[in-house]
Subunit: 728 residues, 2 copies
């Protein structure tokens, strides 16, 4: 085992000769590795090809991290198998989801962090099988293990991002509301959504196209029947403020004459089977081949094929089924039918009957499939998919980015991927995949979001209202209220389930959901400022309370979270609830029950535990003492109008400083300083407030704000209101 | 529609000519029905064979009841299909479970209760599809609907039980701990469990025999290989304090020469198919026939077959698969194989592939099956199973009771059934069926228990540790802590899952679980006294807070419950939790963190909201002001020793009266006055306590208590201890 101390905080233990995954971006060339046989905190044992790493849990140890996983935010007591999987039923015992992010912190008497950069299967048994044993089993003896010498979770993320790169920044409009369903299959149904949004005054920035927009599910096609003039259509919608976001799946339909198929076949772009034939699987299009995204040449080819979409005005995609999901492999199918016949031949099949169910269930995503096809990793090695399995989604995302780079050079793009790997936070968002319309999935959403943030996925979210099974009005209301305070804010649902758009229920529901979405839009100046700062500071945008407050109690709180630095969100996540408990740590807090964006009626609370009564139309949001929240008049879509007035709210007992940030929202020039800021400083002095405003304007980014309306709390005299007009 | 005012509280609306289900026991003969076309609160509409009843929900309305259903205790916002079903995956969207208990209360500005006595399918959409519409759809136009003019939930239960009879009382030992698994298949494995319990000092009263004890799953057989001398074995275990509880399934294996099969066939005891042949289904034994439990003659026959078990010393059974569960019907199987072949013949099956999964899934419990077999209801009518479906489990339980009546005359018996119907609370317990080792199922357990109590099932419980999938040490600990405060306290798990007996984990877990079970046994005098009183008073033993306290807030509390009249249980139901929130209504409360039965260290709390810190070994239990809790030294099994000393704990600021109740615990003579009581009266006077004890002894039931040790709180001087010795 080789050892490299990268800096005071990070060191690397290298087992064997790991394959380059692309997770790490920090340049380590020129560093001298030394030999080492031990790793701090971990006992190493070898078991055939596998390597087991064991940490002895102390009673007080908590485990935070692991990105997209189910269960508590504190992962202690759970078991995970990191092997990206398309499993649409996220019940609590499931060990695998769509992504692999093997970064976590042990928080206890001696705290530290670990990141394992390895693209195959890893099993983490975190005190599940044995209460005090944390066992990591890596399925190969070639991998990189990084140890972080850190004391806090925010330090873990900061150092991890130092190693693995800056989080993805979507275009500004991506912070708007997004509407989706499997499917709005044609122009008529998309029009219907767009019309509903605008006619009902529901702000919305994007509409998603699920698989049915294509011609027979052939990737990079658009059905002419359904979208007669797609280019024109995209532009028309864009004019109305809607971005269309088509889904892209990796499987290329086997169809003679279909250009993707022909090109892929001719150039050997597809993954191969044992006998070096193109590997055949089945997915939505029927029989397909998988592009070998591990090859740079294939990624370039794939990226190029986004040309038409991008030239037609498409600015974003969601990439799906990229674990990759396999409905069946033809070879397995024949064996399946044979086994069914065997059972048929039994006079009384008895328990064998259960095998019928099991056989049909195991047709999809069978482990054998991933052993039976091969990648030509970066053009040099032939490797089984199994051994690099968790990279497929990541490399597909990289392939997509090739397209963006070529056809939208310099522009920010929208990209959300179902499957993901460590490092992918630099280039795409992820969403939580196929959740369910279960109340129980609201807390799952929060916990996952917090864990993803630790791994650098600052922009993510889950399907608002729930994807699978039928939702209901109250669930959509509560989920929209939660979604309004998560970065990726999309309502999405599955075919065959009840419609769950804001207007799909009654007027009362429509009104509540509309007000919630308008509140979200009113917060755009805050959200965008905070998001950009979170990326700059390597501090998750949505973060657990423990990143701000230090107590044992706070470390156990998993149903409240910080949204930026000023707001703590305490969503109501139980059906029929008339309120909820909240813990307010350390300082005073200002409760704003946001049922209308411009009505605050805030109440001051001291730190402590409270039961906060909450109507169905209300979501309790707490402002932290000596911070500010800024809002603007809601728009129909981000960028519809220029923001000239900010509404500033806060509880100020000493000093609060807020930096409103703005840039063009569509490219990377902010990196070169093309952004402007307006700094608001409020000082509490003698039961009144002293307000100072300072503008830092880059001439490319006009600071259009010329009016600031304040609603300040904390004075004994009650709420203080003032409006300031700025003159340049 | 006919109408009958039964009394000031209850009236009956009779639609058509309902079949007698046996739910109602109140004698209505001699009453004169009148004609009526309307029902208070409900709009009636007719839709072909169905009748729809609609109630317009007001914003504040809450719905309580519906017995064994998933979801919140307040059922508003949910949808249920009452059609008894064997579905082992209790995810939140499931509309059917094993039982039908169509009794509920609308709690709002105008409160009332409804009970529908109908054995076929009923669909209740309680504001799920439309937020303010509660629609009950009854699949036939012959049924009885009772309206209760009541204001409180306790009134609902009281009046319902007046109508439908007194709850089942199990033998006293049924309040002990019970150990189960699918399976302890033979004497060796049962011995192993018994030895572990006694050697490790884990109290236990019963061990369950799941399906594998039988000879080829043939009902009423015991495998000679596995239990060479069953009669002797039962007695041996009983001597050690263990009752053996075999499972009984309804399906009779089709096997020539097997007496149950031959007798059933010869006497036409089996349900018939369309062509009047014995209907064939498949279950554990392979192909089976179902006894027609709706016929009294069949019930007698079935009951008689318990002879050998009962004469061998068996005192209880659990009856299972009695929805009835059907793995497949042979006719469906051939159609299944045909359809599979059709799919096989397609060149590219595409989406048809999903049908393979769907086809195999729908082999079990297909709705068609229940349309294709027939009962000879009470010997007079030929009816489809579908039309009386929800009675099958109930009538099977009645058949079992025939056996008890004949071979254990006058004795109490133990009977727990998976499937159930209204009225069955008189003759059996139910348990929650095949739950999962999910933390999320702890709250499901609590809510279901509370709802079952409303329907008269005072003795019930769910599988501690969870039945399906793998449990873990911390989950077993928390679930045991909850189970210790539920009437039926059984640890049970499925084949293929991890063992979850108290000793299956580490020493720490063993110690905690043992102490928890010992605490349960220490509470036996309290539990038994309270249970018997609850039955006498028609007030659920385990009950929601709203049965004691009246506030909007209290009506929303679903994770705390009253256990008898003195104790409020606030179990910890989240993984890794370091405590939980509790709401303490109205009065003062005494917190006892029960980690050891005899260590109290109680703390007094005023009413309000609190976060109570709780170690993994602790379950927070609150004693209500001016009530008492009584305990005794834990035993290895109920009745092992005579209880001579009681430990009395309480927070007394005024007066507390407790009536300790005892009887022989094994028959019904208590109904004739064969019980004794000891009444403890504590008065708080001048910072001290005045204690009075009064014995009411029936000469058949000696009152053996001769020592009372008090630990009383509420005095300014701190805890007060006194021991009183009684002399007769």
């Amino acid at each position: 085992m080789e050892y490299l101390k990268i800096n005071e905080k990070i060191s690397l233990h290298r087992f064997g000769t790991p394959l380059k995954t692309g997770a790490v971006t920090l340049d380590l060339t020129g560093n001298d590795f030394s030999e080492k046989t031990e790793i701090n905190h971990l006992n190493i044992s070898y078991e055939q090809e596998r390597i087991n790493l064991v940490y002895n849990l102390k009673p007080e140890d908590r485990i935070f991290g692991l990105g997209e996983t189910l269960g508590c935010f504190n992962k202690r007591g759970m078991k995970f198998r990191l092997f990206n999987s398309d499993d649409p039923v996220h019940t609590p015992e499931k060990e695998s989801l769509y992504g692999t992010h093997c970064l976590f912190m042990v928080d206890g008497e001696e705290s530290f962090g670990i990141f394992i950069d390895y693209p195959g299967e890893m099993i983490l048994d975190i005190g599940f099988s044995k209460k005090n044993i944390f066992k990591i089993s890596v399925s190969d003896n070639n991998f990189d293990l990084y140890i972080f010498k850190i004391d806090t979770l925010q330090e873990l993320t900061r150092n991890y991002l130092h190693l693995c790169g800056t989080p993805y920044i979507p275009p500004a409009w991506a912070f708007g509301y997004q509407q989706s369903r499997w499917s709005y299959p044609d122009a008529d149904s998309v029009n219907d959504i767009a019309d509903h949004c605008r006619n009902l005054n529901i702000p919305c920035d994007a509409i998603f196209l699920d698989i049915d927009y294509m011609d027979n599910y052939k990737v990079f096609t658009v059905s002419d029947d359904k979208f007669p003039d797609f280019a024109k259509y995209v532009k028309k919608l864009k004019k109305a403020g809607f971005k269309l976001i088509p889904i892209i799946d990796p499987g290329v339909k086997i169809e003679s004459g279909y250009s993707m198929y022909e090109e892929g076949k001719e150039n050997n772009y597809f993954c191969k089977d044992n006998e070096s034939n193109d590997f055949t699987a089945a997915c939505w299009p029927g029989k397909i081949h998988f592009p070998d995204f591990l090859s740079p040449e294939v990624r370039l080819w794939w990226g190029n094929h986004h040309k038409e979409f991008l030239e037609n005005g498409i600015e974003g995609f969601w990439i799906d089924m990229n674990e990759p999901s396999i409905f069946y492999a033809p070879s397995a199918l024949s064996s399946y039918f044979e086994q069914v016949k065997e059972i048929e031949s039994l006079e009384d099949p008895g328990f064998e009957l259960f095998r019928l169910k099991w056989l049909s269930e195991s047709l999809a995503n069978h482990p054998d499939y991933y052993r039976s096809f091969f990648h030509n990793n970066e053009g040099i090695q032939k490797v089984t998919n199994e051994s690099v399995h968790n990279l497929f989604g990541f490399k597909m995302a990289e392939a997509t980015v090739e397209g963006f780079k070529k056809y939208l050079p310099g522009k920010r793009y929208f990209l959300v991927s179902r499957s993901s790997f460590s490092g992918q936070h630099r280039i795409s968002a992820v969403w939580a995949g196929d959740n369910m319309s279960w109340w129980e999935h609201l807390i799952v959403h929060i916990r996952m979001l917090l864990s993803l943030g630790i791994s650098g996925f600052f922009y993510s979210g889950s399907d608002v209202g729930g994807f699978g099974c039928n939702s209901s009005a109250d669930l959509v209301i509560r989920w929209t209220q939660l979604g309004a305070f998560t970065p990726f804010f999309r309502n999405h649902s599955a075919t065959g389930t009840r419609s769950q758009e804001p207007w799909a229920f009654d007027d009362d529901t429509l009104n509540i959901v509309r007000e919630t979405i308008r509140t979200r839009y009113s917060l755009f100046p805050y959200i965008y400022s905070e998001f950009m700062r979170s990326v700059r500071d390597f501090h998750p945008f949505v973060s657990p309370l423990m990143m701000f407050f230090d107590s044992e109690r706070v470390k156990g709180i998993e149903d409240q979270f910080m949204f930026g630095e000023s707001l703590m969100i305490t969503p109501v996540i139980e059906r029929n609830a008339i309120g909820r408990y909240v813990h307010l740590p350390e300082c005073n807090w200002l409760l704003w029950k946001s049922s209308k964006w411009h009505e605050h009626n805030c109440v001051i609370y001291k730190s402590g535990d409270y039961f906060i009564e909450t109507g169905l139309e209300e979501i309790p949001v707490f402002m932290r003492e000596n911070t500010l929240m800024i809002q603007a008049e809601p728009q129909n879509y981000i960028g519809e109008t220029i923001i000239t007035e900010l509404f500033v709210t806060g509880l100020v007992t000493d000093e609060a400083v807020y930096e409103y940030y703005t840039d063009n929202g569509e490219d990377s020039k902010h990196k070169d300083g093309e952004f402007s800021t307006l700094t608001i400083t409020v000082n509490a002095i003698d039961d009144s407030f002293d307000i100072k405003v300072k503008i830092n304007e880059n001439f490319e980014v006009p600071m259009d704000v010329n009016r600031l309306s304040f609603e300040l709390y904390g004075s004994k005299k009650g709420v203080y209101k003032e409006t300031i007009t700025l003159t340049k």
